[in-house]
Amino acid sequence: MPYTIAMVSDFFYPQPGGVESHIYQLSTKLIDRGHKVIIITHAYQGRTGIRYLTNGLKVYHVPFFVIYLQTTFPTVFSFFPMFRNIIIREQVEIVHGHASLSNFCHEAILHARTMGLRTVFTDHSLFGFADAASILTNKLLKFALSDVDHVICVSHTCKENTVLRASLDPLMVSVIPNAVVAENFRPLAKDEPIATPRQPSSGALSPQRPLPLETVTIVVISRLFYNKGIDLLIAAIPRLCAAYPYARFIIAGSGPKAIDLEQMIERNVLQDRVEMLGAIRHEEVRDVMVRGHIYLHPSLTEAFGTVIVEAASCGLYVVCTRVGGIPEVLPLHMTRFAKPEEDDIVAQAGSAIAAMRAGRIRTERFHEQVRMMYSWTDVAERTERVYDGIAGVLSEEEFYGCVEGEEVAGEVGGSSSVVRGRSGVANFALIDRLKRYYGCGVWAGKLFCICVVVDYLLYVVLEFIFPRANIDVVRDWPRKKAIDETDETEKLGEEKTWIT
């Protein structure tokens, strides 16, 4: 059953990043499956208005006030008139918000429920519980997710985190991982020369299976922030360089920790062993990765870690910290886990370097295995199932695995009936919505209820000021039939004809 879906997030291209590419890839695959998808984001510098991307993916860059790190100012109601207009003219049925720091997404979910639409939220990140900023964010998340139909998390760790933060019923949270476009992350072919985009002088690094006495290259591609564990990296590199004279490092990325890294290189005189590439574009990631043998990922927190999948797809052995959702991502033979502390990282990376140099790790089949494990088509299929579930196409038992009221013994029965007063789907009655919000807290619950009531009144006023009859309904992009996975080649051909 084809749906019309609006993906709403503050984060979208031209800004690069994981959430951005997730939204784009998921949308294109959903379009391939016969749905209609639009993306609503805020206007970026030099990009305001409505644009079409490949395949008829329509992007609304709504002019909006941006405060910090591309996040819009939380005004709760000011986005409603524009949002309503877009939803009506595109005849959207499901609103899918992304990223918990995106104010646009939370507002859209609130308004969508007021307008009587199904909503899904995808969480891409992990948060703490202790510091002031997290407490505030978590309260807002709880507000936004009180009345959402379904939540998708990128890993089981992320699910656990989100369920705790927003006090959700775990049944209404699904785990759908990210994926990679494996074709873009191929290992180096036998006769392919190494692309050296920035430093042509470092051509001595061979991609071939390291024989004894040859160098082992370790790649780190990460934004250089504190939470990416750059401090651990700074501590580990001198020790690794001292212990393994044949080890080399390539570090790509930029951020506030770049200075510290450079100081470390200067202090230890490692200029010929550690290469800093600075910021690189996403297309160049593969070219950098294939220059190395081991990918080191010292992150302190990570919901999924798409980059380690990309590294494994490029045929790199992965050494990473055992934090967040990372242990769920790759099978054991591709990875080596370390505790997020200096000594253990040095020990694990060291043993990986030694094993790699001795030729004990075979990475030839990594690409093929990753390709089988992660594909966006699969992600889109599973997301579609979530849409089916919340739209009531799938029965409650089929979707949730159990029916309300006859829950497994031992679980707290009845508590979720207020939250999810469903007969298969959550209903839209204002009183039921208010009940869901009221449980958010002693004061917060009442405040949220006021917000919801104001939102509802605003909706009624808008119906009067901008009547539905005056809003033009857009024509759909010429749709193609839903494609089976079998005729992949046919699909590619068809895609080309649509683009031209």
Partner: protein, 203 residues
């Protein structure tokens, strides 16, 4: 206040010409509607004249140094003239003038907008936008076929809405010409685009 619904009219006087008119007022077709329309115009004109007369009378009465009235006797003797004099005597200048200006503004204001696009095959297009008052004429612009680079329909954010617009890209001009700038037709005008293309260029 709900926005008025606009209507689109198409006129084809000759096989090579076509004009599209978008208007926010209801089309005048029947004799009755026509009579009402002209009747209202006449009333409007008379009211404007009355307001002017009131102002004139006030001018006469306040100019103390000239004993001679500038209004001709025949006009001030009519019931209209007497009524104007009564009004002028009753109110002070500082109330009368703003009230008169305001009522003038109400009276000469055109409460509908009418925009049209005239397409002459092989020659070009002419866009017309009606003025906001009855005192000035409509603004028109002719764009010859030779300087038209492209015609397209796209969407844009305007106020709290997303609207369709028909735009013409003119050679050597930085901005595109938006054809129906004030009101866009209440349905997606794709069909019109093809027609416009057909009429404008011999494709």
């Amino acid at each position: 206040m709900p926005a008025p619904i606009c209507t689109l009219r198409k006129l084809e006087p000759t096989p090579t010409t076509v004009s599209f008119t978008v208007s926010t007022r209801a089309p005048i077709e029947t004799l009755q509607a026509r009579l009402i329309h002209y009747g209202f115009l006449a009333v409007r004109f008379l009211l404007v004249a009355q307001v002017l007369l009131v102002l004139w009378t006030k001018w006469d009465s306040t100019m103390v140094h000239s004993n001679q009235a500038t209004i001709p006797q025949w006009l001030s003797d009519t019931p209209t003239g007497q009524w104007a004099a009564m009004l002028a005597n009753a109110a002070a200048v500082r109330y009368l003038v703003p009230i008169c200006v305001f009522s003038m503004w109400i009276l000469v204001r055109r409460e509908y907008t009418e925009e049209s696009l005239l397409v002459l095959r092989g020659l070009g297009v002419e866009t017309t936008t009606s003025s906001s008052t009855y005192l000035s004429t409509a603004t028109t612009r002719f764009i010859p076929t030779t300087s038209i680079q492209d015609i397209f329909i796209h969407e844009a954010f305007k106020g709290f809405e997303v609207r369709f617009y028909l735009a013409i890209v003119v050679e050597d001009e930085e901005d595109v010409v938006v054809v129906f700038p004030v009101r866009t037709p209440a349905y997606s005008p794709e069909i019109k685009l093809t027609r416009t293309r057909l009429y404008c260029r011999d494709e």
